[in-house]
Assembly symmetry: C2
Homo-oligomer: 134 residues x 2
DNA sequence: TAATCTCTTGACCTTTACGTAAACATTCTT
DNA sequence: AAGAATGTTTACGTAAAGGTCAAGAGATTA
C-alpha cells in the first residue's frame, strides 16, 4: 500500500468540495470524529486523501440518518486503514441493522399516526356536516 | 347553553389527571396556548371544564405530531365556545390535511432511507465475504 | 404550633448540529 | 506596502419542550 498521491487540501477547499461549511469540519474535529490531522506550520489544517475519505464516510452515515453520537461509537471504524477490516465491519453492520430496525419502528409509528389524523379529520367533517343541516 | 357543573380544578390535580406535569401546563400558558384563566385569590390557577377541554384538545393535537407552534396558529380555534363552529373547523381540517401530507412525505423519505441503508449494508457484507476468501 | 402539602414566579439546564461573531495571524494579489 | 482572502481559537446563540432547582406563601393536618 502506497501513500496516496493526491495533494492534501485545506479546510476551505475541502468544505467547498463536500458542500459543507468549515464550521462543520472543525466541529467534527471538536467532538472527536475527525482524528487529529496535520497542520501546516503548526496552524493551518491540512487534509490528506485518507482524511477526506473519513469525512466522506461520516457524511455518508449522516445521510443515512445516523446521529453524530452514534457515529462516534464507531470511532474505531475510522481507523480503517490501520486496523483489520474483518474486525471493524461486523460492528458497522450491527449498527446499520440496529438503525434499520429503528427506521422500521418510526415508520410504523408514522403510519398509525396517519390513521389517527385521518380518523380525527373524518369525525370532524362529519360533525361539521351534521351541524350545517340544523 | 349552561355553565358546566363540574368543579374547577387546580393545576396539580389537572396535571395528574392528564398525566402531564404542572410545568407543562404552565409552559403552555407561558407561550400563549392556554388562555388566561381564573386565579383563586389572585394566585392559584383554577381550571374550568372548558379550560380542561382546551388542554385536552392541545394534547390530542400533540399526539398527532402537530408541534406547539402549529397548534399556536390554531389559537382561534380554542375559543370554540365563543365562536362559530362552521368558521373554525375548516381551518382545522386544512391544517390536518396539511399534516397528513407531511406525514406521507416523511414516510416516503424514511422508506428510501431504509433502502439506502440496506443496500449499503449489503455492499459491506459482500466486501467482507470476498475479503475473507483471500 | 409545627410540619407538610401544594401553590407561586423566575431563571438556568438539557439535547443536536452547527451558525455567527470577535479578534487576531498568515498568505495572496494588486 | 496595503488590502483581500483565508486561516485560527473562543465562545455565545438557536430551536423544542419542557426539567429542575430556589425561595417564598397560604392551607391543611397531626
Amino acid at each position: 500500500m502506497y501513500k496516496s498521491n493526491k495533494k492534501p487540501v485545506q479546510i476551505g477547499e475541502l468544505a467547498k468540495d463536500l458542500n459543507i461549511t468549515t464550521r462543520t469540519i472543525r466541529y467534527y474535529e471538536e467532538i472527536g470524529l475527525m482524528g487529529k490531522n496535520e497542520r501546516l506550520n503548526g496552524a493551518t489544517r491540512s487534509y490528506s486523501a485518507d482524511d477526506v475519505l473519513r469525512l466522506k464516510f461520516i457524511l455518508k452515515l449522516k445521510t443515512m440518518g445516523i446521529s453524530l453520537k452514534e457515529i462516534h461509537h464507531l470511532s474505531d471504524i475510522f481507523d480503517i486503514n490501520e486496523k483489520d477490516f474483518d474486525m471493524i465491519t461486523p460492528r458497522l453492520i450491527e449498527i446499520l441493522d440496529n438503525h434499520i430496525s429503528k427506521v422500521d419502528e418510526k415508520m410504523a409509528n408514522m403510519s398509525s399516526l396517519r390513521n389517527d389524523i385521518v380518523e380525527y379529520r373524518f369525525r370532524i367533517t362529519t360533525l361539521l356536516n351534521s351541524n350545517s343541516q340544523n
